[in-house]
């Protein structure tokens, strides 16, 4: 039985609660506060389908996330320099932060077609520019650059290449054709060390050839030099260390949140909010000053619920590990509606949750995190790690969310299913489009079958 105060709310429900709480004297002493429904009015139609955590901390999280474009426009109006960091998911923003630049991931545009329920027509714009449906939904980013209708266009774009994904560098190359500056840097493909090679432990403990770490650090230094030129100032090593420490504080809170949610007897936070919290670590949602407080509020709420033995889902919800971010946000609430509970996930940003070593040369430390990216080491390694993490979190099932058109997914699904089978973990691979309604029946049936098997 879920306590009435913890039942998730739809937009109307949140409007009602928001009004009541404001009338009772609750305040939102942050500039992005307000009723969630205002985002619906601005075109974020998907919100009408979703259900939201009923806490003030949850509301703050959603408002913080949805106000990012406003924040970026305010940064631009204030004369700050924006850097579009791409694909590496968590490393380059730390360098940018050390230089007082504002980093953000245009990659996030991949959710715009979902959030706006395709009204944005970004995918059509991308197709007109030669990037069609055979590519991953991140092609929406190309549409966003072409229209300029979402985030302000960055002063420089920095894109990693060489180890992950073909779609992204191809799309970034098209951005160049549109006149945008893109600095590419190479991230090495991670492999196991040879017996005669010097070894360095990555931030997650994975052994890695020292030569790869050194090469990655050298590339990040090159990125740092480019960003320093953009900022018009040298990159101060002390400032970089400070930025690392700042990022680490955020990452620690996110890790604590994950751990609390995984071990709690009942799910203290819905899956969607958990995923958003993970995502905040990659570039702090364009406000590194505010991000810690948002996550801390969420963590405090979770801890209070855990202490009270309370949860947002039924006590018998089936614990599930989820692989890959779903192209439609509605997929996670769907899992919960059918009786599942997220106890762990690899949303492709796991390396952005790791503590950046603070006792190492900064660029080497950042390289040790970047190379821990679950996608950089290949499908087999990722599958093994996911199954191990699933087991550690007590998951009884694995959902592999296939991203339509993503080059890695075509191979990874097979590897993940095989690893799950070897571990005796029921698994299902589901292709989830940006708007899942056309395939909802199929998704429901397959998720239900998985959860039934896992009970």
């Amino acid at each position: 039985m879920i306590a009435p105060s913890l039942l998730r709310l739809d937009l109307a429900g949140w409007d009602h609660r928001h009004a009541a709480m404001v009338a009772a004297g609750e305040s939102e002493p942050w500039p992005y506060g307000g009723a969630l429904s205002r985002w619906l009015a601005k075109g974020d139609r998907r919100l009408a389908r979703l259900r939201f955590d009923p806490s003030w901390a949850g509301l703050r999280l959603w408002n913080f996330l949805l106000s990012e474009e406003d924040r970026l426009r305010a940064h631009r109006a204030a004369g700050r320099t924006l850097v579009g960091t791409m694909k590496d998911l968590g490393t380059v923003p730390v360098i940018a932060d050390a230089l007082g630049l504002v980093p953000f991931y245009p990659d996030g545009a991949w959710w715009i077609p979902c959030v706006m329920e395709l009204d944005d027509r970004l995918l059509q714009h991308a197709e007109r520019l030669g990037i069609g449906p055979e590519f991953c939904p991140v092609r929406a980013m190309l549409g966003a650059y072409a229209t300029g209708a979402h985030f302000p266009l960055p002063d420089l774009n920095v894109c990693s290449a060489g180890a992950v994904c073909d779609d992204f560098p191809a799309i970034a190359e098209r951005l160049r054709d549109l006149g945008h500056q893109v600095l590419f840097w190479q991230i090495p493909v991670r492999r196991a060390p040879d017996p005669d090679e010097a070894v360095v432990a990555l931030a997650d403990g994975t052994p890695c050839p020292a030569s790869l770490v050194a090469a990655c650090a050298r590339e990040l230094r090159r990125v740092g030099e480019a960003l320093a030129w953009l900022a018009g100032m040298p990159l101060d090593p002390a400032a970089l260390r400070t930025a690392i420490a700042r990022a680490n504080a955020i990452r620690a809170t996110a890790r604590a949140l994950r751990a609390e949610c995984a071990r709690a007897p009942r799910a203290p936070l819905p899956a969607l909010e958990l995923m958003i919290a993970d995502m905040l670590t990659i570039h702090f949602c364009s406000d590194i000053g505010e991000c810690p407080a948002v996550l801390a509020g969420l963590l405090a709420e979770v801890r209070a619920r855990v202490a009270a033995g309370a949860g947002v889902l039924a006590a018998d919800a089936v614990p599930v590990f989820w692989l890959n971010p779903p192209a439609d946000l509605a997929a996670l609430p769907l899992l919960e509606e059918l009786g599942g509970r997220l106890v762990g996930a690899d949303f492709m940003v796991g390396h952005a949750l790791l503590a950046i070593p603070e006792d190492d040369e900064p660029f080497t430390a950042l390289a040790r995190c970047a190379l821990a990216d679950p996608l950089v080491g290949g499908a087999q390694a990722r599958a093994r790690a996911a199954v191990a993490a699933a087991r550690a979190a007590g998951a009884r099932a694995l959902v592999i969310a296939r991203i339509p058109g993503a080059s890695h997914c075509a191979w990874e699904g097979e590897a993940a299913r095989a690893a799950a089978a070897a571990a005796g973990l029921p698994a299902v691979e589901l292709e989830i489009p940006p708007v899942l309604e056309p395939v909802e029946g199929r998704l429901r049936t397959r998720l239900e079958a998985l959860l039934e098997m896992a009970r």
Binding site: L129, G130, I131, G132, E134, F135, C159, A161, G162, A163, V164, C165, D166, D167, P169, A170, I171, A172, E173, R174, R176, D177, V182, F184, W185, Q186, P188, V189, R191, D194, D196, S211, L212, A215, C216, R218, E219, R222, G378, A379, Q380, G405, A406, S407, H408, C409, A410, W411, E412
Partner: protein, 311 residues
């Protein structure tokens, strides 16, 4: 002499030969594609059943990286090399050099030997001469004969070229990643449709050959000359890919090309994304997507129609 099965033009035959091995070029069998998987990469993933004492391949794209991973668990030594994925990066160049050195160590450790002084330089200069001979025959011999000559040179063998002869037709470039063996009928189709493949811009064609070597550089530092040459093989996957487009633009002008034929595998994102910029070179372009079986007649119709538009 032990045999290294090579599945990429980025593995220098001279390096292998200088280590006392011979090169066998892998011929991935065409595969029915499953959704999202490149047929060439899937064919490469099936190489585990092919004879060879060791395997070397490069992984310039995500599909090949995944395919290479499936081979890494093979019982025979398998080395995956990563040519630079970005331009103008000393670190990326050093990574490729380290991969080649790693290959060398594997070759030494499994029956080969370290190159004797001057051995690599001599092999490189001989290979350079053979590649020059091949390039001089571009557009002067049937397309299939040219591709086969490239394959021989990439194995470290003499080119074995037939004599040049006058060919009639409109001169075109064939562009794409890889023409798997079962797809070489395309070359005959192009020849038979009044087209002259004056530039074979596929991985297994002229584009897959490194440029002319600086003989002095080879004598000074053969390894460095080799790394630099093979690292700069024109490739649209190396970002930014202005270098590839400059190479193509130069060839269009120098060889008086009238059109571009793009041959790509389904699910090859890299070449699909390149189409707008290829069109921007201003030549008529036909985009052909590989398939098996009954697609051949459809492609014949398209090629013949394309040839007619060139006049």
């Amino acid at each position: 002499m032990p045999a290294l099965l090579c599945a990429s033009p980025h593995v220098p035959a001279e390096w292998v030969i200088a280590h006392g091995w011979r090169v066998v070029r892998a011929e991935p069998l065409p595969h029915a594609t499953r959704e999202g998987v490149c047929a060439h990469a899937q064919g490469v993933a099936g190489l585990h059943a092919t004879a060879g004492d060791a395997l070397a391949l490069t992984a310039p794209c995500d599909q090949m990286r995944r395919a290479a991973e499936t081979l890494a668990a093979s019982v025979r030594p398998t080395v995956v090399l990563h040519p630079p994925a970005v331009e103008d990066s000393p670190a990326a160049l050093a990574l490729f050099r380290d991969d080649l050195r790693r290959l060398g160590r594997v070759l030494v450790g499994h029956g080969g030997h370290r190159p004797a002084p001057g051995e690599l330089a001599e092999a490189l200069l001989l290979g350079d001469a053979r590649r020059a001979e091949v390039r001089a025959h571009a557009g002067g011999i049937p397309a299939r004969a040219f591709t086969e000559a490239v394959a021989r040179v990439q194995r470290g063998d003499p080119a074995g070229l037939p004599p040049r002869r006058p060919l009639t037709g409109r001169r075109i470039a064939l562009l794409g990643a890889h023409l798997v063996p079962g797809e070489r009928w395309l070359l005959d189709l192009l020849d038979g449709s009044g087209l002259i493949v004056a530039l074979d811009g596929t991985d297994g064609g002229e584009r897959g050959l490194p440029g002319p070597l600086d003989r002095r550089r080879v004598r000074e530092d053969a390894e460095a000359a080799m790394v630099e040459a093979w690292a700069t093989i024109p490739d649209p996957l190396r970002r930014p890919n202005d270098g590839f487009h400059r190479w193509l633009a130069d060839a269009i002008a120098a060889r008086d090309l009238a059109g571009l034929v793009v041959w790509r595998q389904p699910w090859c994102d890299a070449w699909a994304a390149e189409l707008p910029r290829l069109r921007a070179h201003g030549l008529p372009l036909v985009d052909l997507v590989a398939g098996l079986g009954s697609d051949r007649e459809r492609l014949r119709t398209r090629v013949e129609a394309f040839a007619e538009t060139l006049g």
